[in-house]
Amino acid sequence: MTMWRRLNPGLWSAFALAAAGVAVLNLLPIAWLGIGSLKEAGGGLGLGRYVELFERFSFAGVLVNSWIYALGTTVLSLAVGVTLAVLVARTDLPGKALVRFTALFAFVSPPWLTAMAYVFLASPNAGYLNLALDGLIGVKPLNIHSMPGMIYVSSLFLYAYVFLTVEAALAGLDGAYEEAARVAGASALTVIRRVTLPLVTPSLIAAAIFSLIIAWGLFATPAILGMPARIYVFATQLYLFLNGFPPRYEVAAAMGVMFCLVAFLLGGLLWLSRRRRDAARFAVIGGKGRRPSLLPLGRARPVAAAFAVLVSVLAVILPYAIILWMSLNTAWFGGASLKDLSFGNFSYVLTGYGAIWRVIGNTLAIAGMEAGIVLVLAFTVAYLARRTTLPGRDLLSGAAYLTVLVPGTAFVIGVIWAWIKSPLGLYGGLVLIAMAQAARSLPLALRNIGDGLGQVDRSLEEAAVICGAGRLTRIRAILAPLLRPVLLGAFALVFLSGLRDLNTPLFLGGGSSETLTLAVVIFNFWSESRMGESAALTILLLGITLVIFLPLHLFVRVRQ
């Protein structure tokens, strides 16, 4: 084997480049997050920032809020997401396409869109729902600017993640196990409780842990809903640290480290639980199985269908309708009358707001660079991990996955620390924003491409070797064409999330107009209470997304 490696300098260069890429993108910011948190005012290293965090910033309150927020969101998301996943994968629920579409849409929707929509709907005094209820029963019961409000709105996004994870696991589960239980006399509910859910336990645990970590990193929802009511959680407190005067980068890093440590702990537990479990117990998830016959819901069918429709309405249909309405409305929070409708907001953001083309250009440039970096790196890492025997390949892919365990906003703090004084001068530029976003979306792309590679039978490449094709020819002529749908899908997903990323450009832009993106401008407009313009820009961003992705989608469809 040793000689085989020596004969492959090309492979080793690819490995070195990928390792360097992962180190710069992922490891450097995480390391700097730790270093930054230990910087003392005098210049040395110490634990002073951690002490300060507790003594001066009433960190305990933020800590408690963060846990309530993240746990509440996780529990609600699991309840909704798992219920819908079981209903879709295992019962005769009508309208499954709607449920799947809603989940996908909710997952890729900008989180700020839902939060903004619910301000219009359920703010204490002027929300449309409150006004309607006031007219009906004489009270205004809803207050979206509260912890329950934040948990509710965040769950409308995060349930989709749980649903997509668990539904995929259920789809890969051989139905014979459940049919055997039914034939043995178990009722439908017993089968789901005693057989189906226990078999997908690993994905349930993973969904719960990753939901918690994602919830810590959420910024837009707690910023739009919580900050006006002075409810601060991890991400919004970080924002305050960065935007205070002077900015408190060290304290921000210390807080980031504390959440990262808990996340690493949870991730470690997940990893251990997967290693120690008898693999055979869950080996049923191989994707070869046949779906079992669907359980009839009987009289519960209309209730389940109503629940599914309600989720669709609350998570996607209502928020999008409200944002569209607001974008066309120049008299916000007034009476909803048709004579106020105009394209005034659109005309302002497209012609009155001078920087708009530059902002659109920035947004596209960042998303494009991000998607390019991620695609090349994820393919290289996945290929090295699955198609070579190089030592260190598992370490490389582990390092590439690492950002999954770092709450989004904490990671950005690490990026600031890593690059703010770097002589390369990337700080405050588009490239660094793209790099930080790329680090965040690398795990998802790596997973998709890795799974895709795993499904390409090795003998297809071996046949090409025997025919005399070298490694590059094999990748170009065999692997790349076979993986084209997977690669295009990964590109689309990363590009899409890049277009709507708010945290990274907001935290890394440093307020400079050079690096404004659509998401940041939308957030800034919102902060200035220019809600109509904010809504119009959101619709514009969605329009750009559609213009780019519809042709891509059709292209993939046609090619298959």
Partner: protein, 353 residues
Amino acid sequence: MSAVTVSHLVKAFGAVRAVDDVSFTLASGAVLGLLGPSGCGKTTLLRCIAGLETPDDGTIGIGPTNVFADRGRVLVPPERRDLGMMFQSYAIWPHMTVAANVAFGLKVRGWPGPKAATRVDEALDLVRLGGYGGRYPGELSGGQMQRVVLARCLAYRPALLLLDEPLANLDAHLREEMRAELRRIQRETGTTMIAVTHDQAEALALSDLVLVMEGGRVRQAADPRALHARPATPDIARFLGAVNRLDGRVRADGRVELAGGGDVAVSHTAAAGARVALYLRPGGLRLAAAGDPVNGPLARVDSVEFLGDALRYRVSVGDRAVIVDQPAAGPEYGPGTTARLAVDGVAASCFPA
């Protein structure tokens, strides 16, 4: 001239020696069959020759060059060994047409388009798939895919063709047709071949030389007829289908006195008084009336199964169970009756016990 020379080849996976000190030479234009039960190391040996696995020790020569020697200090990567290989899973590239699949090896060798196209047509004609070039693999049947793989291997006329369980994925009828087809194409092209199989009939029909492998080692190397007539060990005899065993002792007159009573004349080289074990093929046995003067002991019929063209009897000779397959024509012996077990003395294998 020898096309393939393998000597003292070793390949271990952890503590398991999948290939353990294997040596053989194969003449140019000949067909070698690697025969053995699953897990015997035959596929690992084939993949070592292909270069898809790297051996630990020994040498592999293809034509005049060593492709592996000196513990890997000499190591030619698979793409430069000038091979063809038929994979058990076919491994036809689903995103390319039949013609593009067949042309692939020519393209990587830098053949110009028109010349390659002519060669592709020749290869497709050879496997009787002329006119199928524009189709995609998804539109083909199993047997046609098999032919595409063969055409893909033969198009660039490799020095050696490797076949990994080439017929395993075909149903019984197609398998026989493809087996004859493979032999015809091999004769027409004179290609040197190494074929891995666990099916003895396939190995015997295809090969000029058969290596029987077990536990990573070569247990017997012989041409098909010699192998069939004289398996080297009881295990090989059993593997080749002689599943019935009768124990006995050689009498002074050379006949074997059976432990369950009765005696039988077989060809053997054992001395008088030696204990021996006889291995008998079900197809080499038949039942006759108890009084018939045939070579063999008395047997009690336990059950009879109707298999269509043949009857399968399960009988007892003493306390030994014996399976007999005989043509369905003629008298049938019901369960509980006693019959005489007629043994073809030349076809029986006799080993010291």
